[in-house]
C-alpha cells in the first residue's frame, strides 16, 4: 500500500509505494493510476494535468488554480487497499516478432562475452522470458520491461551510441526495452522488431500499456523486411 504521500513542488504529489522494484508493487501503482484516471473521466477530480506511474511511485501533476495538494491528498488516501487489488484485469500479453540476425543484433557478441553464454542460449532465454511492462516513458511509447533472467545480466555500454535504429530491442541489467524512435542510447542491442510501437497518426497511437506482458519470437531478415 502507499507508504507515504509527499508534495513534489507546488503542483505535484508523490504516492510512494516503498523502495522495491517488484511486479506486485508496480501493479498497485498501476491500479491507483487507473482509479485516478477513472475519477478524472467521471469528473470526480478536476485539475489533473498528468499522472505518471513508475516502478514504485505514482506522481501526479495538478493545476494549483483548480485543486490544492491537501485536497488531492485526501482523495488519494481515500482509495482502499482492496480497490488496488481489484483493478488488475485487462492486462494483455503481446507477442512481438524480432529479427535477431547479426545485421541488427549487434551486441550479441558482447553479451555472450560478458555472460559466458552462447548466442543461441542468449536468444533462447530472451524468447522464453515473459516480460512485464513496469512503465512507459522517457520518450513516447518506450516500454521499461522486466525482469530479465539473471543469467543475461549485462551492464550498459560505457560510451552510449550516438544513434540506435528505431525498433531496436535492447537489454541492460535486469531490464529489456524497445526503441520506438531512432535515438542515442547505451543499452545492449539484441535484435530489431518491425512493429511500430508509437504512431501519432494511428487510432491507437501507443501499442503497449503499463502492466501488459510481452513475449518475443524470432523472425528472419526476409520476414522482417516484409513486415516493415
Amino acid at each position: 500500500m502507499i507508504k507515504q504521500i509527499l508534495n513534489f513542488g507546488d503542483q505535484g504529489l508523490i504516492c510512494d509505494f516503498g523502495d522495491e522494484v517488484k511486479k506486485e508493487i508496480n501493479l498497485k501503482v498501476i491500479s491507483l493510476f487507473k482509479i485516478i484516471n477513472f475519477k478524472i473521466k467521471n469528473n470526480e477530480i478536476q485539475g489533473i494535468k498528468n499522472c505518471t506511474p513508475s516502478y514504485n511511485k505514482l506522481i501526479i501533476n495538478f493545476n494549483l488554480e483548480v485543486i490544492s495538494f491537501q485536497q488531492l491528498s485526501k482523495i488519494v488516501t481515500s482509495v482502499q487497499e482492496q480497490d488496488l487489488n481489484k483493478i488488475l484485469e485487462n492486462q494483455k500479453t503481446w507477442k512481438i516478432p524480432v529479427c535477431y540476425d547479426e545485421e541488427y543484433g549487434i551486441d550479441q557478441k558482447r553479451i555472450s562475452e560478458y555472460t559466458g553464454l552462447s548466442i543461441s542460449e542468449i536468444l533462447d532465454i530472451h524468447q522464453k522470458t515473459n516480460f512485464y511492462i513496469y512503465m512507459i516513458g522517457f520518450m513516447p511509447g518506450f516500454p521499461y520491461m522486466g525482469d530479465l533472467d539473471d543469467k543475461l545480466y549485462t551492464p550498459r555500454l560505457e560510451t552510449p551510441r550516438v544513434e540506435i535504429l528505431d525498433g531496436s530491442v535492447i537489454i541492460a541489467e535486469k531490464f529489456c526495452a524497445i526503441y520506438p524512435y531512432k535515438s542515442p542510447g547505451g543499452w545492449n542491442i539484441v535484435g530489431r522488431t518491425p512493429i511500430k510501437l508509437f504512431d501519432q497518426h494511428s487510432k491507437n497511437p501507443c501499442l503497449l500499456f503499463p502492466g501488459d506482458n510481452v513475449e518475443f519470437y524470432k523472425i528472419n531478415l526476409e520476414e522482417f523486411k516484409k513486415l516493415v
Binding site: G9, Q11, K49, N50, K57, L64, M135, M139, P140, C206
Partner: protein, 318 residues
C-alpha cells in the same frame, strides 16, 4: 484562403498551445508554451480562445508575409519587430497590442530583448491539425502538426479566418520587467542524496545558465554539487521545473519538453510562480536559488495569477 508565407523561420519557431494532458503514462509530455503568461496574454489581446495555437519563437523570430487575405496579429514578450507595409512604410512594432495587416504586408520579428521567448498570434487562430487534443509541436519526439517539426523557411501558414478591417486593441498594463536573478524553489524529493555541503553549494553559490539550453532543459554551470549516494535513483515521473543533479554535480533544470521519466536525484523544483521567468533567462546569466515552503509557493502563485488577470482586464480599443 488566408495564407501567410514564412520568408524566414527564425531560430526556433514552433506552433504551441497549452499542451497535452494526461498522456505522460505513455511517454507524452504536456509540452506546450514555455511562458504561459505571455502565451495567454497574446490570445487575450486577439480575443481568441485562451488555448488557441500560436507561434512561439526564441531569440530571432520569423519574417512573414501576408500573401493572401488580411489578418490581425499580436506579439507578446520583450520583442523588437517591424511591420513593413506594402507601400514600403516601416512601422516600429510595439508588444502587447494588435495590428491589422493587409495583403502583401510583411512582419519581421527581429529579436527578443533580455529574454529568450516571444509569441506571435493571429486573430481567429491558425488552421492546424490537433494531435492528442493539442497543436503543440514537440520536435524531439516529432509530435504535433507540421510533422512535429519547427517552422521552416517557405512554410505556409493557413489562418482559420479572414479578418476585415476592425479595431486594434492594446493592454494598458503590461507585465513588469523582472530582473530578479534569485529563483524560488521548493525542496526536492531526493534531498537525502546530497551532502550538507552539496545542499549549501546549491543554495549559497551562483550558477551560470549555459548555452546548452533549449525547450527540454536548462543546463547550469557552477561549483560541483556533492552527492553522498549513487546519482541513480529508480526512474520516476518528472514534473517541469525539476532540478536534477547527475554525477557531474552540475544541475539540469527540466523545462516544458522534458522527458517523462528520469533517473537522477532531484535536489529541488522551481516554484511555479517563477517558472516562466526562469525559462526566459538568457544563457550567461548568473542565478541563485532560494528555498520557500509550500504555503509561500501557493501564495506567490496566486499572486501571479491575479496579476495576469489584472493585466488582461486592462485590454482596450486603440
Amino acid at each position: 484562403m488566408n495564407t501567410i508565407l514564412v520568408e524566414r523561420a527564425g531560430i526556433s519557431s514552433s506552433y504551441q498551445d497549452m499542451g497535452r494532458l494526461n498522456l505522460q503514462y505513455i511517454g507524452i509530455v504536456q509540452g506546450g508554451c514555455i511562458d504561459e503568461d505571455n502565451f495567454l496574454l497574446c490570445n487575450a489581446i486577439l480575443q481568441n480562445n485562451c488555448n488557441e495555437g500560436l507561434i512561439e519563437f526564441a531569440y530571432q523570430g520569423p519574417k512573414i508575409k501576408v500573401v493572401d487575405g488580411n489578418c490581425k496579429i499580436a506579439i507578446t514578450g520583450d520583442v523588437i519587430f517591424n511591420i513593413i507595409k506594402s507601400s514600403g512604410t516601416v512601422i516600429k512594432g510595439e508588444c502587447y497590442r494588435s495590428y491589422y495587416l493587409n495583403q502583401n504586408d510583411t512582419l519581421d520579428v527581429l529579436t527578443t530583448s533580455n529574454s529568450v521567448y516571444g509569441y506571435l498570434g493571429f486573430e481567429g487562430g491558425i488552421d492546424l491539425q490537433k494531435y492528442f487534443g493539442s497543436v503543440a509541436v514537440n520536435s524531439r519526439s516529432n509530435l504535433g502538426p507540421n510533422n512535429g517539426k519547427k517552422l521552416s523557411n517557405n512554410d505556409k501558414i493557413q489562418l482559420k479566418k479572414n479578418i476585415y478591417a476592425s479595431n486594434e486593441y492594446i493592454l494598458r498594463r503590461i507585465p513588469e520587467k523582472n530582473r530578479n536573478t534569485t529563483i524560488r524553489v521548493l525542496e526536492g524529493p531526493q534531498e537525502e542524496y546530497f551532502s550538507n555541503n552539496g545542499l549549501m553549494t546549491f543554495y549559497e553559490k551562483s550558477f551560470l545558465v549555459s548555452n546548452l539550453t533549449d525547450r527540454m532543459g536548462m543546463r547550469l554551470e557552477g561549483s560541483k554539487i556533492d552527492l553522498v549516494k549513487s546519482p541513480n535513483i529508480k526512474s520516476e515521473g518528472i514534473i517541469k521545473g525539476s532540478i536534477q543533479v547527475p554525477a557531474s554535480g552540475q544541475p539540469i533544470i527540466l523545462l516544458s519538453d522534458h522527458q517523462t521519466i528520469g533517473g537522477y536525484p532531484k535536489i529541488a523544483i522551481i516554484a511555479s510562480a517563477d517558472y516562466d521567468h526562469l525559462a526566459q533567462t538568457l544563457p550567461g546569466t548568473s542565478l541563485k536559488f532560494k528555498k520557500i515552503n509550500l504555503r509561500e509557493a501557493n501564495i506567490s502563485y496566486q499572486l501571479k495569477i491575479k496579476t495576469r488577470k489584472n493585466i488582461i482586464a486592462s485590454l482596450q480599443k486603440i
